[in-house]
Subunit: 200 residues, 2 copies
């Protein structure tokens, strides 16, 4: 398969890319690294990326930003960072990417445990994750050409535990191989419209 | 209690307003009707509304738009109708409204069954609802002064069944009194951070 992985150099993305690259043709896209440059907050950049890659069999997005800070410090404009990037960026990957997929391909988005179990400073990030989870269920009712759309919602992965543990008191670090398997399930299985939660 | 009900003249809002008005001082806000005018898609309009009403004990929002149409017909800009109105409109009601509440007051937002069980044409509406459900959980961890924030997520209410039934095949019409009770639970109970689902 030709698999396009947006954010394929990140903490989770690099492991997912390494896994799929063993037996597939993997194209990595990122804002500053990878085979193709893309800023998912800009739909014209998404279009340019697909014009560059041509058709693929699977799109995986493990990218997108949202501002983390105390609720009382988040301005209206701060929320739009997440709305343009992790929310509409992923929506636009589906809107635009569907036209660059072969038959019976898949799109796998990424959210996270904050949608279900938020922590302090994450009103924007939690909101964006919850929005994508519901979007994936909805778009799966309509998208054409047999395209399957799923979303992986990981907990705090072991590789991020030291850096982020103070934000996630009592959360259970999740082994990366379980998270990688969730992407495998989405790409190689038959699920559609699933929120694949990997929280322990 | 002084209760501000945004969207208090709508299908659900009029019943919620009538219920609370029996034993409370109810102020109704709306885009074109009510005691105070407000366009929740515009945060300066929200600020002006609260300057007009002064402090209240409860804020209830049963307002907010999102565009319904086929996924392939929804433009990027169409999504922003819902992002600005039903999503950020409700976020801004919490951001701004918290400063116009008496001690131990409540804010009750509204989403709907589409967050969990979307139907065709609702990629934008489902996304916005899912985002608010997660936002309410997150903001409840942080909001000050004992303010409780909840969200009521109604199914298709009986009063809308004839108009909307073709969009909701097989959905069970929900009696309005059950939905009104969900707002009562949020305003008069002790719940915080709850998504109060009334789907049957």
């Amino acid at each position: 398969m030709r698999i396009l992985i947006i954010g394929g150099k990140g903490t989770i993305g690099s492991k997912v890319s390494a896994h799929f690259a063993r037996t597939n043709d993997v194209i990595i896209a990122g804002r500053s690294t990878g085979d193709v440059k893309v800023d998912i907050a800009d739909s014209s950049s998404i279009k340019a990326m697909f014009e560059n890659t041509g058709k693929v069999d699977a799109i995986i997005c493990i990218a997108g930003q949202a501002k983390w800070t105390d609720f009382d410090d988040l301005s209206e404009e701060d929320y739009y960072i997440g709305l343009r990037s992790k929310l509409m960026g992923q929506v636009n990957l589906v809107r635009i990417g569907q036209h660059y997929l072969n038959q019976n391909a898949s799109i796998t988005l990424t959210t996270g445990i904050l949608a279900d179990d938020p922590v302090v400073k994450t009103t924007s990030a939690a909101m964006v994750n919850g929005g994508i989870n519901s979007f994936v269920k909805a778009v799966s009712l309509e998208i054409a050409n047999g395209i399957r759309v799923n979303v992986v919602s990981p907990g705090l992965v072991e590789e991020s535990y030291e850096k982020l543990k103070d934000y996630f008191p009592g959360h259970i670090p999740v082994p990366m191989n379980k998270v990688v398997n969730a992407y495998v399930r989405s790409v190689q299985g038959k699920d559609r419209g699933e929120v694949i939660r990997i929280y322990a």
